[in-house]
């Protein structure tokens, strides 16, 4: 009996490890293959023709990809910054103000873009822009309109991330600041803001990467001459496999992996320091 229990416990352990390893292989092997084949000399995607950096060299002359990258970076920078500002305001309204007219509609509208298919968001914003163009002759479709679409989606994600953080804050800290005579704005800049910085950084990175990755909304809202990097990749991928896509994909994957690793180390360190400060400040109470 005991042997059987030991045997089944051992089996469960091996099975569990095996499942985890298989799962991670499933998650990572496709990406690894993509990276490996970006160094493939042969233009055929399935045959290994020896190591080569030629696709990276060609990337430097590929003006379509370089222009797309530059446009995407500009849009992502503006949309992440705008999303975090608007999203923080929305999150703040929802967490701090429990009663105002139309709060239900507001909270619904904040989270709705998260579940709305991108095709519908793209279409609806396009129809709005068409109507606006018809009425005012403004705005022309291009960088500005793509930015608008990304801001729309990014704001909701930023609001969710910041809201989660604001809900965990101890309201007594803000009340204490108010008791000490701080104005609402000072309470925000001196007390609330330093405590939610990590979530602002996470929200910024998340919305930046969402914007840098978006195809559907950009396709709906872009005009002639405004082709973002994902739009270039998508149009090439639609036609078939392209070594240039593998090379640009590898660059993106490496850059994103480094940024995410650095950011998460920074956030973890900041969190630890904050926890230490709070426990030092409140030690006398207990």
């Amino acid at each position: 009996m005991k042997n059987r229990a030991l045997f089944s416990a051992g089996f469960a352990k091996i099975f569990g490890r095996g499942w985890l390893v298989a799962g991670f292989l499933f998650l990572y092997l496709p990406m690894l293959t993509l990276v490996v084949f970006s160094f493939n000399h042969s233009p055929l995607p399935s045959q290994w023709g020896g190591f080569s950096l030629e696709w990276y060299a060609k990337l430097a002359d590929d003006s379509e990809i370089l222009n797309g990258l530059w446009l995407s970076l500009k849009i992502a920078l503006f949309s992440a910054t705008g999303s975090v500002i608007l999203g923080t305001m929305a999150a703040f309204s929802l967490v701090k103000y429990k009663r105002f007219r139309g709060r239900t509609l507001f909270s619904g509208m904040v989270s709705a873009p998260l579940v709305m298919p991108e095709v519908i968001q793209g279409l609806s914003l396009l129809l709005l822009l068409v109507a606006m163009e018809h009425a005012f002759g403004f705005p022309e479709r291009g960088l500005l309109t793509i930015w608008l679409g990304h801001l729309m989606i990014g704001m909701s994600y930023a609001a969710i991330v910041v809201q989660a953080r604001l809900q965990t804050l101890n309201p007594q800290l803000e009340e204490a600041a108010m008791d000490l005579g701080a104005r609402p704005w000072q309470v925000f800049t001196l007390v609330t803001f330093p405590m939610i910085t990590q979530s602002l950084v996470s929200a910024w990175l998340l919305t930046f990467s969402l914007s840098l990755d978006d195809v559907v909304v950009s396709e709906f809202l872009s005009g002639p001459g405004a082709t973002t990097l994902p739009m270039v990749i998508f149009s090439r991928a639609r036609l078939g496999l392209a070594p240039s896509v593998n090379a640009v994909a590898t660059v993106i994957i490496v850059v994103v992996a480094i940024c995410v690793a650095m950011a998460s180390i920074w956030v973890a360190r900041k969190e630890r320091r904050l926890a230490a400060e709070i426990s030092a400040a409140t030690r006398d109470d207990s």
């Binding site: 985890l20 993509l34 305001m89 929305a90 709305m116 298919p117 279409l123 609806s124 609402p184």
Partner: protein, 312 residues
Amino acid sequence: METSSRSRWVPRWWRGRSAVIGIPYAWLLLFFLAPFLIVAKYSVSEMGDIRVQDIVSVTDGVVRFSVKYANYVFIASDSLYLHAYVASLKYALCTTFFCLLIGYPFAYFMARAKASLQPLLLMLVMLPFWTSFLLRVYAWKGLLDDGGWVANAIVGLHLDRVLLAMGLIESPGQLMHTTFSLLVGMTYTYLPFMILPLYANLSKMDLRLLEAASDLGATPWVAFWRVTVPLSFAGIVAGSMLVFIPCVGEYVTPELLGGPQTLMIGRVIWDENFSNNDPPVAATVAVVLVLLIVVPLALFNRYQAETREKRQ
């Protein structure tokens, strides 16, 4: 404190408060609600000679409303649309099922791994989540296309016969642009969405409950099914919603990995707008899709509200 500060600072305080609420509110009204109302309006308009006819017209001082149901009648009568809706729901359900099948044991073993190892495992699950969605879909194109190593392995092991028998592919050896490639791609891209809420739920479970079950004579297998699974039900529901809802309206994966057999509703909206140049029909399809998504979402919200009430 609250009352005294309010009586002295009412105007200033109100200005700050109404700006904090007002700016995002106005933004959402203008760029979320208004566009959606325009979509709804388009769906009850008809294409005129060149441009879409207005639903409100003023002739000789008389305001006329001309709401047309023709688009709804049209998409109801053409079986293409019905097929696309059914296919979208079917593929979304299958993807959710496969994600749960792979993701539940994964999240379970992750939550039971050594505590010191867990942050690293979590980070490894999150990382693909950060890398481009588009590139993750594209990666499968290289693997499943003729000569890709996964395709070679499947054909070499004669597994393509099994897939053919299951109706997931149409001819042996041809794996790309089939139901199979579509489901693999969607399961792959949405798997982290399933794992993360399940892990969050399972890692919070009180392990003493399992000890109690074992003291009462339950084998680990019985304890798993009668204690762990019911307790993680909220995580299962949350993960399934996170996978199912975006899958229904998915466009990129069916376009890159699917074939002519796998027409999903996202592609229909896209084609109506871009290829057929018929925004009213695209808008009608979109309105129906929103209704399809709202129903499971409303059920989910009710379920969440109920569990919250029960806990209190």
